[in-house]
Symmetry: C2
Subunit: 236 residues, 2 copies
């Protein structure tokens, strides 16, 4: 019954948000003589949110937002060396070790023998391809797709391209906004695995009880059991 199991990557298969939070702490310390932690954090988040429309997702846009927030918070007095340090710490993010979430590798290995697996990640093509390569998980997937945003249209395009019916499609991810709601809209199955530090931008309401194509798991290790049950139950 189930044909294609797709996974989000950041904070579903590997830790990602924690890297951003570490850099945010560095930013707050760097701006300490100009602003308190709360003001620094708030200004950064405002600049980041506004800049999403200009830059899309990813580390390069985040770098520019950090610099812009630093200029604003310091009233233009920020030192060149501090600007350079923001460029340096974000450049380290680009080559950071990809820390795979406990159990993910084993689950993918098990499932890759049973289903067609796809990775669907949004954001920067260059950054995401590099992370997939560094993760060591590339060969578990038949396909890796990077989209600029995870809209219902983006999912519909992929299902059409690879000739998959929504009822045979399962998406697994940690973001209600990006991984779950658009897939439920299309008629697919969605498995929500919350991550402790999900970015505020990705928050949305948990779908109403009764959405029988919505499933929530505590950790990825429980996924094979859920898929077995879905396959037995047949299409909904």
């Amino acid at each position: 019954m189930l044909q294609l199991i797709a996974f989000d990557a950041d904070d579903t298969l590997w830790h990602n948000e924690t890297l951003y939070l570490e850099v945010e702490e560095h930013f707050i310390a760097l701006l300490a003589s100009y602003a308190g932690p709360e003001q620094a954090r708030q200004t950064l988040h405002q600049v980041e949110t506004r800049n999403l429309a200009h830059y899309g997702y990813g580390i390069k846009g985040f770098t520019i937002s950090l610099i812009e927030a630093a200029v604003a918070l310091s009233g233009g007095r920020i030192q060149g060396s501090s600007i350079q340090s923001l460029i340096d710490v974000t450049r380290e993010m680009l080559v950071a070790h990809v820390q795979v979430i406990d159990g993910a590798e084993e689950v993918l290995t098990l499932l890759s023998g049973r289903y067609e697996l796809m990775l669907i990640t949004k954001g920067d093509l260059f950054e995401q391809e590099a992370k997939v390569a560094r993760s060591g998980l590339r060969d578990r997937f038949q396909r890796v797709e990077v989209v600029s945003d995870k809209t219902p249209e983006a999912y519909a395009t992929l299902l059409t391209r690879y000739d998959v019916m929504p009822s045979a499609f399962v998406m697994v991810g940690n973001s209600l906004r990006s991984d779950i709601l658009p897939v439920l809209d299309l008629g697919g199955q969605a498995v929500y695995i919350p991550y402790p530090a999900t970015w505020s931008h990705e928050h949305a309401e948990v779908p109403q009880a009764g959405t029988i194509r919505f499933h929530q798991l505590e950790h990825i290790g429980l996924l094979p059991g859920l898929l077995d049950r879905l396959d037995e139950r047949g299409p909904s």
Copy 2:
């Protein structure tokens, strides 16, 4: 005989490099109290070239390179307001009017009735999708593909995905390095249309005479005639 005609976008269908050169002039003026034009330009190009490995292609990476070069050239004394002005001018690039090259629209309209047309552009997914939308040319193409780099592997993946033989494939572009040489390597036809201000990074040697699958045109208006001749001649 010919099945799929693919086009590069930047500096093949619309002007792009000129936007970068305008911002470079702004950068040189901004740094005038710290460095002469030649030193400013040279440092910027060095930083840009080094940063390609970190950031890939696109305006966001260029923005960070401008900031980094400004910090370096000023010995860290660059003003916050100057940093912000670099962010502002590059943000304008992201929404700049897409100036289509003379004749491109007419040629695409003519060819779209005869062949399957594809746009293949490298660089930032978010930026390139936005430019395609702003260009008004989207509906001339069956497919738009953004790749992180135009390697022979990237072209081979596309030909496999869409089931096209290299001998039935024509790539049209202004970069010998990205549009021409990898396609000749694969056995495809390549049409080189030089652009006056091609970025130094894209330079390569013009293939040796005798490469019968290599063609050079002075402007895109000559493309339909060339394709007619190629189709008469049959596969090489």
